[in-house]
Symmetry: C2
Subunit: 433 residues, 2 copies
């Protein structure tokens, strides 16, 4: 039995209190490793709260050229307020997931220095001069290594935590732990897979421009069956430890470096969910570009780069995933010794290719679901929100919704990621009707 | 957090000792409810060890017309010996699963009176005059209510523990617990999905008659990919709380009554696994009949009854499962409110039918896997073992293996359970070559 399943029960507690810019210093001072990292006296540490996500407090603490980050869970959803409580143990799941990710892809996550269970807080590496990828994409920045880095992250974390690489005993123990990340999974279950397709108090969209399409989504039974099939997969397919929230706001970048942050939604789910999250958010960035264009900007070429990145990501992911698989693993699925002869190797290789193409189908479906929820649901994204003119914004969002629906309903019809790209290009060229 | 996940850690312990016919009496005397049930003084209780399964001790304790059963886990695999240790906590998972099954299908499981954690033992209802279904089938007994009872059991337990009926929070908590049933899942992972397809020390088969087909199975790459696809589903699809070992040796019957026993392999897995276990074991009984025939017996008509039962089981299961679904549930999957209008109801109903046909595909594949492991692997079954003449036995087993392979490799090609029946009938008529 894993001690973790028990340990996770005691996150937060009587001494928990949300940190403030004033209390971060004494908190850090009690952690000698952190205090040494900054050096000097606590009074010399500059503290700034910078959390712009939906859930947590994030403090940057600096002294001269040195710095670190303190991320603390709040007992409610920050985006909504204290009316929506959320358990603090998510900080523990994030810490656990980050540890597992770090073993699989050490250069692609922030270093984690300390988890303070009582305060539900992690002390982590300050990523500088990184910015959130979503901000970079809205600003029209190119990241030449992004596709490959993300392919590497997804292939390593998904393969190495799956039954291909992880013995069933290890996998089931981890799964037992992450099954406890119930509240965060529930957010996805409701906000991604239900609310955009029904009247829900917290939904919002660019109104009145999108009123009709929002109503059409709510009335579209074919679409709702497709979305619920995806939700069924989310609920039942325990294929690998997912990041669980792999959108472009969970990635910090420079020209040379890529770090995936914030795995607090981690759980064992369908691999396509992480892949689709990243791909869907690239498509959001793609469709937002015309609305973000300043006079004179050449955003067409930038849109082209986004789709290149999408395509390269998929090719990089699939070839890296296959390479992991061909190299073998200690998992219980498809033991290589069963396929050691020529015909075994041939048939197994055929199956690998089939398996990857099924992952693409899943990823395409989830990409669509992740796009729609950012336009019709509670949590919106800067890509579209930065477009001040509601008519322009609605035109961009409308196209994205058309593609999102097609990805969800028609996911089995896409034979390659190139067909996804072709669909996006074709819809981008259309006039909005 | 469920207290169960923690509670399960403390099964067995310093005071654990295997019970004997001599120590069962003082053990029961400490449990007043059990003692009252039997009445009289311990010296008047007649104790008999009757465990004929592969794993546990089973004592029947009687006084006059009264009786009960004590089932105790041993710290090793009884079939193999102390060289194969097995954790005692499986007794706890069995007790938990039985409790959940009893809520879903109270008339179809034995009553459970007490779980003794320290001794890893359950005190349960004595089923009398029930016999193990497998014995009844080898004896040529018909059970007119069997198909419907098993349909009812499978539909209720699978639907009610799935995301259709169980809110995600409850489902994930239960899943977290049953993910700890690692050792028992591992037995299935190895003995069902690997060993029959490789050289394994514990394998045995009717030799030399089946040597060629055993070698052919080990060399059959197409088959091995199919089996590993099924294993992937076993490892990753957390659809419902399965019984996990639903063969004809886990069912006690009379003409009027059916009880499913021994859910110690319980875990969250693909629904088709339970369905296929029952169907595959009916097919084993079907193919064993010619070898069990005494001169003058009319086993053709009995074989016909077995296939009728198989078919009725499937029709009963699917109609009952659909009825549960149509009645609605509290689960997170396919919330009925999303499909409240006419087109929603229509599309959802279409999807339900598709879903059930996918379950049939899964069940057919798992049925094949469950058949082959009983002929080529470690654990054999009385159906074939009772056939004394090895040539006759091998002829029966050969036909069963042909069907098993076809079910696994061709599972997606079967459009109905009638086609499975037709295949079995056709292979049964063939001369063995």
């Amino acid at each position: 039995m894993p001690s973790n399943a028990i340990e996770s029960r005691f996150v937060g507690g009587a001494n928990y209190a949300p940190l403030t810019e004033a209390t971060v210093r004494p908190f850090l001072a009690t952690h000698s490793a952190a205090a040494e990292l900054l050096g000097g006296r606590p009074e010399e540490w500059a503290v700034r709260e910078v959390g712009d996500g939906n859930l947590n407090l994030v403090f940057i603490v600096k002294r001269g050229g040195r710095g670190l980050v303190v991320k603390q869970a709040l007992p409610y959803v920050r985006l909504v307020g204290e009316s929506w409580p959320l358990p603090l143990d998510r900080a523990f799941f994030e810490y656990q997931a980050l540890t597992i990710e770090a073993a699989a892809a050490p250069s692609l996550v922030p270093r984690h220095f300390h988890f303070d269970k009582a305060m539900a807080a992690s002390i982590m590496e300050l990523l500088e001069p990184h910015i959130v990828l979503r901000k970079g994409l809205t600003a029209g920045m190119k990241y030449p290594l992004l596709a490959d880095h993300m392919a590497q992250f997804a292939a390593a974390t998904l393969f190495l935590t799956s039954d291909f690489a992880s013995p069933a005993a290890e996998k089931r123990e981890r799964q037992s732990l992450f099954c406890q990340n119930i509240a965060l999974c529930k957010i996805t279950e409701d906000l991604v897979f239900n609310d955009p397709y029904r009247i829900a108090e917290l939904n919002r969209w660019t109104s009145p421009q999108l009123d009709d399409i929002a109503a059409a989504f709510r009335a579209d039974a074919t679409l709702k069956v497709a979305v619920q099939e995806l939700k069924w997969m989310f609920l039942t397919r325990s294929e690998a430890l997912l990041h669980g929230d792999l959108h472009t706001g969970s990635i910090m970048v420079t020209q040379d470096d890529t770090r995936v942050i914030d795995p607090e939604f981690a759980f064992f789910g369908p691999m396509g969910f992480d892949l689709g999250a990243f791909m869907g958010n690239l498509l959001i960035a793609f469709f937002a570009q015309p609305g973000l264009r300043d006079p004179g900007d050449a955003r067409d070429e930038y849109q082209h780069w986004i789709l290149e990145t999408l395509e390269s990501f998929w090719f990089g992911f699939s070839s890296r995933f296959l390479a992991h698989w061909r190299a073998g693993g200690d998992g219980d699925a498809f033991p290589p010794t069963l396929f050691a002869d020529v015909s075994g190797r041939t048939k197994l290789e055929e199956h690998r290719v089939t398996f990857v193409s099924r992952m693409l189908t899943d990823a395409i479906g989830f990409a669509g679901a992740k796009m729609a929820r950012r336009i019709l649901g509670l949590a919106h994204v800067e890509d579209f929100e930065r477009i001040a003119d509601p008519d322009v914004r609605a035109a961009c969002e409308m196209k994205a919704l058309h593609v999102a629906r097609e990805l969800m309903v028609g996911r089995a019809r896409f034979g390659s990621v190139g067909e996804v790209r072709a669909l996006a290009e074709s819809v981008a060229r259309e006039r909005v009707t």
